[in-house]
Symmetry: C2
């Protein structure tokens, strides 16, 4: 059965790196994997892959899981083939997807997750779970071969969801951006997940984890809350 | 001589639509054009092209210029060929570029602007002046055939530049995004333009117009101010 944890962000409020996520990570991994393959491709731009790994590793070790980054493997495809679980960190979604295609692991991760390998992503790592990365908040700093992504769920997710916009600034609010998204893509669906919140996909259902509700953006501008703790069918979105 | 006005935004603070821009628009158009062809392709998603035109037209008419939107023309290429000047409005940069490619006007606008036809863009309309749209702030709501754009200047511009990030939110600040951009694209250059500010490109030089300075993001994280009122060589960036 498909097991995916899509976290909005690595941080919630003033908490430390993934500090809010102990229960969410256990919900995905406990009894299913001991060792986790880390994909740092969304980072490694203004800091190194080694640095990224050294930030993430202690979090997983504290919870009882080993973690090793894919950049230590000469053959990234073999690393994915042998992985017990995969963790895909945040950073820039365009860089992440571009490097996943370069490493030849997009189709392979899709196959293995569909066959039951647990997958956890946060921020950019959640964007790539969707059909495309077209609901990312990130700057397109590189141009991947395509914006099509893992397509492991049938709708789009917007991580780091935040309502409104900074005072005195005239860029679009997130609600306006997502209304434009649905305006130009009338057959698609979007779920916004606030920082600290996650979706735990199990098979054909997903459960909202964390303090805050998820938000279902509907055609025409209506926004439904999906209560934290509730479970919904992926097909219902 | 090339004549391009790249405005950061349609609004500055609490002023109305393009209300801050009278002097900037005259600097570009006065004595050079009477009629302006409007390209509304960045909008027309949550409101119609007609509505967009009706918002922009009175601004130009008040300043003594006629304005008509390209969507009234059956042949958009012929409209560009016959235009005295082009105005490209803000909205979503990915939608804008995608629709410009669909209309077959990207190469044509480039040729005509290089041959001296005045061009004014704001927000998304300024992004497409650059080599690519990879420094847009917008959500990639559609996937254009390529992110390559008009390439009328040799560096990237980031419109709606704003420093820092909203309190309590853990997404990246604009400075962090642009540092990542330069980290992964070490041979490129970026100029940030705050809302209300514009670059007026004349031939091989550009002048900063508006109340606030432009910002030159350099490799390694240094940020130089380019003082408003000053003129610099495009090649110096």
């Amino acid at each position: 059965m498909k097991q995916i944890l899509m976290m909005s962000s690595s941080r919630k409020g003033n908490l430390g790196y993934l500090e809010h996520a102990d229960d969410q990570l256990h919900a995905l991994l406990k009894g299913r994997a001991k060792r986790v393959l880390f994909v740092p491709y969304a980072g490694g731009i203004t800091f190194s892959y080694d640095e990224y790994e050294s930030r993430v590793k202690p979090v997983f070790e504290r919870l009882g899981y080993e973690l090793e980054s894919i950049h230590h493997h000469k053959d990234p495809r073999a690393a994915v083939e042998q992985a017990e679980a995969v963790a895909v960190g945040g950073g820039n979604t365009f860089a992440l997807l571009d490097r996943m295609y370069n490493a030849g692991i997009v189709g392979l991760i899709r196959e293995r997750v569909n066959a039951g390998m647990p997958y956890v992503g946060w921020s950019a790592g959640s964007n790539v779970v969707c059909p495309t990365i077209r609901t990312t908040n990130d700057m397109p700093i590189v141009e991947p071969p395509t914006l099509k992504a893992l397509n492991l769920i049938p709708f789009q997710v917007n991580p780091h969801f935040i309502s409104g916009k900074p005072a005195g600034h005239n860029g679009e609010s997130r609600e306006e951006r997502l209304a434009e998204y649905l305006g130009i893509n009338p057959d698609e669906r979007v779920v916004g997940i606030p920082e600290g919140t996650a979706l735990h996909v199990q098979g054909e259902n997903a459960t909202v984890l964390g303090e805050f509700d998820a938000l279902y953006f509907k055609q025409g501008g209506a926004i439904d809350k999906i209560a934290t703790g509730s479970t919904f069918s992926l097909a219902s979105i």
